[in-house]
């Protein structure tokens, strides 16, 4: 049974507590704790010391998407704390200054494929170069990035063909023309169905769709539909304040 969950950043920017509270009311067993903005990393370190994450069977952490070369070692030191808990670390390849430092995270590092604005990590070929520098790393396959880069899903197919065995997590959403994550549309779901059968069945699906209220369940249903699956909805327990 495939696992589904949300990125905390999609539900509540920087407010981990609120994001997790929202997830208590839906049937998910995976979560990505997002420190996409560098300023969110230290608060996340502090938050996880007290947070009750026992309801999740899969937890990952999204590393900051931009930091200076001088801060890189410090960022990795904090991420290693998460990695020691067994949580995979998702990183944008264009954020990396020195690959040798990130190699310390070994197979607990997941390199994410990028959207079309980025200079690296967008195609199967560009990812091959990155995995030459990080041979042990796994991959977080962002299916929306792949679709934005090539709406025919041919590049998505090539990424899955060449790097499918590295995939340990999937990001799903719709990426709009401004390269922002958006809620999924039926056409996006249909496009994802073209290649979702090639994604390892044990890779959890993390939604990056900005959603609130009933949209959370709707987006989870669409994510399941993208994988030609259906999911059990949890009975509503009341509104989240």
């Amino acid at each position: 049974m495939r696992r589904y969950g949300f990125s905390t950043g999609a539900l509540a920017h920087g407010d981990f507590r609120r994001a997790l509270a929202l997830l208590k009311h839906v049937h998910v067993d995976a979560v990505e704790l997002s420190a996409l903005r560098p300023a969110e990393l230290l608060p996340l370190v502090r938050f996880v010391k007290k947070a009750d994450l026992s309801g999740f069977l899969f937890i990952s952490v999204h590393a900051p998407a931009g930091f200076s070369a001088s801060d890189e070692a410090e960022v990795i030191r904090h991420l290693q704390g998460f990695s020691e808990r067994g949580w995979p670390i998702v990183v944008h390849p264009d954020a990396i200054h020195r690959f040798t430092l990130w190699a310390a995270l070994a197979d607990n590092l997941l390199v994410e494929n990028m959207d079309k604005r980025k200079p690296v990590g967008r195609t199967a070929r560009e990812l091959t170069q990155i995995f030459c520098d990080l041979p042990e790393a796994g991959m977080c396959f962002d299916i929306a990035h792949a679709r934005q880069f090539d709406t025919s899903m041919t590049e998505a197919y090539k990424i899955l063909r060449d790097h499918g065995d590295r995939i340990r997590q999937v990001h799903i959403s719709e990426v709009n023309t401004s390269s922002k994550h958006d809620r999924m549309s039926p056409t996006a779901v249909r496009a994802y169905q073209d290649v979702s059968g090639l994604i390892p069945p044990d890779a959890p699906i993390i939604l990056e769709t900005p959603a609130e209220g009933d949209q959370i369940e709707e987006q989870l249903d669409l994510a399941a539909a993208a994988f030609n699956a259906s999911r059990v909805r949890r009975r509503k327990m009341g509104r989240v304040s």
Partner: protein, 355 residues
């Protein structure tokens, strides 16, 4: 280090040299690299410069036109026209010979037209020409994102809307919708040849007929091989679309997309590298084409073909030479596609090539 092209590998295998083909390929690489340096800044994640014609086929000779479009695949932006004008201005300032009289190139071209208008009234002669040349003899300059997205989406349409292919009712997995459109384009070129002869009162007729007999026919034949490769490639030929569904389509589109990046001569060289029985044909086809490019690269002969009056054709040695090359080239193509002793290609041509 630059990867050795299939044409060079074939010439090594056969222990021969085709100097005009080699020189044209080298000239193309040099010209493309120089233009890339200055024109990349006019492209973006939403736009690519696509070069077609001799620049796309890697057959640049002294008199080659530079046929290009600024291909847009992204949100509407009035500045796209500025980029297009800047490219045209640069080419003019460098004295680079621009696109031909039909004004099919040298303009903004939008992916939506190429992808959505396949067949029907909206699929104009210009749209068909641009789409086919993009698939059969093009190369990107500058950022390639829009080029790759557009060509992949065009190929996806040909596969996903090929009912016979998607439902495994196509005995040899050849994408018939695509192959039919390539055949339509070839016939359109042949008909347009007569149209242009009338329209231009015979001006440039001899050069156009030379091009029709050799490079345009080469492009069409390479398009056939592109389609036939789906039956000849061991991995692709075993796809069962009815079992693998849309994932199978993605696989075959990725396969066809590799052909979009090859020149027509490279496609033939790859065939000849694997089909030893066609070695004499390989020698004939490439030697003939080499002679043709050498002739085109000769300013006086090219000029003669451009200006030759129709009533002097029968006695003109340049025209007669190119006509003979056309016949030799046709013989080589007949040996590839229509010889029963080359059973696979013969059978494919019999099954798909005519009706």
């Amino acid at each position: 280090m630059r990867e050795e092209t299939p044409v060079l590998r074939l010439s090594s295998k056969l222990g021969t040299d085709w100097p005009a083909i080699r020189a044209a390929a080298e000239a193309t690489v040099a010209r493309r690299e120089a233009l890339n340096q200055v024109l990349t800044k006019h492209t973006s994640e939403d736009t690519s410069i696509a070069v077609v014609g001799s620049f796309g086929r890697a057959e640049v000779t002294a008199g080659s036109d530079f046929d290009w479009v600024l291909l847009v695949d992204g949100i509407a932006n009035p500045e796209h026209l500025d980029a297009c004008s800047a490219i045209a201005d640069h080419l003019k300032s460098e004295g680079i010979k621009g696109p031909g009289a039909e004004a099919i190139f040298g303009e903004l071209v939008f992916s939506h037209d190429l992808i959505h208008y396949i067949g029907g009234d909206e699929d104009t002669n210009a749209n068909l020409t641009r789409r086919m040349l993009l698939l059969l003899e093009s190369a990107p300059l500058g950022r390639e994102d829009a080029y790759a997205r557009t060509t992949n989406n065009i190929l996806s349409r040909y596969i996903l809307e090929d009912f016979g292919w998607m439902h495994a009712r196509n005995p040899m997995n050849v994408p018939r919708f695509l192959q039919n459109d390539i055949a339509r384009y070839w016939r359109t070129m042949a008909v347009d040849f007569a149209y242009k002869r009338r329209r231009r009162a015979g001006r440039g007729w001899a050069l156009r007929t030379s091009k029709l007999r050799l490079p345009r026919k080469l492009t069409y034949a390479a398009g056939l091989l592109m389609c036939y490769s789906c039956a000849l490639d061991p991995e692709i030929s075993t796809i069962v679309p009815s079992e693998a569904g849309r994932g199978a389509a993605a696989k075959i589109v990725a396969h066809l997309a590799t052909y979009v990046r090859k020149t027509p001569l490279e496609i033939f060289a790859e065939l000849f590298l694997t089909e030893d029985s066609l070695t004499p044909t390989a020698r004939k086809l490439f030697a003939t084409y080499d002679e043709f490019l050498a002739l085109l690269n000769d300013d006086a002969k090219r000029e003669r073909l451009e200006t030759l009056p129709h009533d002097e054709v029968a006695e003109d040695p340049v025209y007669q030479a190119v006509r003979d090359l056309g016949h030799q080239f046709q013989e080589a193509l007949d040996e590839v596609f229509l010889d029963p002793t080359t059973p696979k290609l013969y059978q494919l041509t019999k099954t798909y090539g005519v009706f």
